[in-house]
């Protein structure tokens, strides 16, 4: 049932497990060599006790960008965090594979139309400002 999620996650060397603490704040901890069991959707995770994580809703994010902040890709598995003995286990409950670029664009256009549906006048982007900032950015030393 979790074969696709396990296969997609295997493409990343690291992932981040996200949970909630006792005051209901989210928290995240990076995991090295994450392996999701394709049969059970479970994955052992290491979360230091000092962070105060509690059992409950959780997720796992894996993402990549290169040194120039490009070639972006990411995936998110929703689930829950369970305590089993002395260890934390992430249990997957939902995985939707990342959409392709055209689907991302279509969704963004739909969301934009909805966000602007009742707004008049429609905002106009100051592209002259954007172009000036791009020129200035070329002179940023050691970004």
């Amino acid at each position: 049932m979790w074969a696709r999620a396990a296969r997609d996650l295997a493409a990343y060397r690291e992932a981040v497990v996200n949970a909630v603490d006792g005051e209901d704040y989210p928290l995240s901890v990076r995991q090295t060599a994450p392996v999701l069991d394709p049969a059970t959707g479970t994955m052992p995770v290491a979360i230091p006790g000092a962070l105060g994580a509690v059992a409950g809703p959780a997720s796992v994010l894996a993402h990549f960008h290169d040194a120039k902040l490009w070639k972006l890709r990411a995936m998110l598995i929703k689930g829950r965090l369970e305590r089993r003995g002395d260890h934390w286990i992430f249990v997957a409950t939902e995985y939707i594979p990342p959409p392709g670029p055209f689907a991302v664009i279509a969704r963004a256009r739909k969301a934009t139309a909805k966000y602007l549906a009742t707004r008049r006048p429609r905002p106009e982007v100051a592209f002259d400002v954007i172009q000036r900032i791009w020129i200035d950015a070329a002179n940023v030393e050691d970004p």
């Binding site: 909630v20 000092a50 962070l51 997720s59 902040l69 982007v125 970004p143």
Partner: protein, 175 residues
Amino acid sequence: MPTTALKFAIPADAERIICRYRTCEFSTLAKNGTPITRPMGARWLADGRFLLTTSIGMPQKAFHIRRDPKVSLLFSEPMGSGIARPGAVLVRGNAVCDDRIVSDSSSVPELEDYLRENIFARQPAGRMMSSLVGRLLAPSYYMRLLIYVTPVRMDYWPDRNFAAAPEKIEVDRVG
């Protein structure tokens, strides 16, 4: 670097991580309490708050924050940062995201700084988003919602042993 106006002390290596890592893993809470986490660029402001932005074409995180302001940022991906001894910093805090669409980036000075230094200078290929093709495909890309995060707790891993207990950074009231 924001330290001159900060009201709390932070190790220099932790500050470098926050300021130089290209992305953080930013978590908001869905209606059922599930942390929804995305890689995002974040800028640490002089008053100790963090600035992030999202396009109105991807407003879910803004909706989450308006319902529940509790968020976290984990700076743990060193790719491109040039930091020789990478560690990680976890920030937990309270966010605000007003329903104000910023389409003139010069109208908010810290937004212009964020775009110039945190995004454009670090992501040169992103310039295609302001090309004719980019404007046609994603006309709302530069219609931004601003997210400000006030930290309430920060934890710091000086190295990449994430199973070890992090060092707690005492956070005074900021903002």
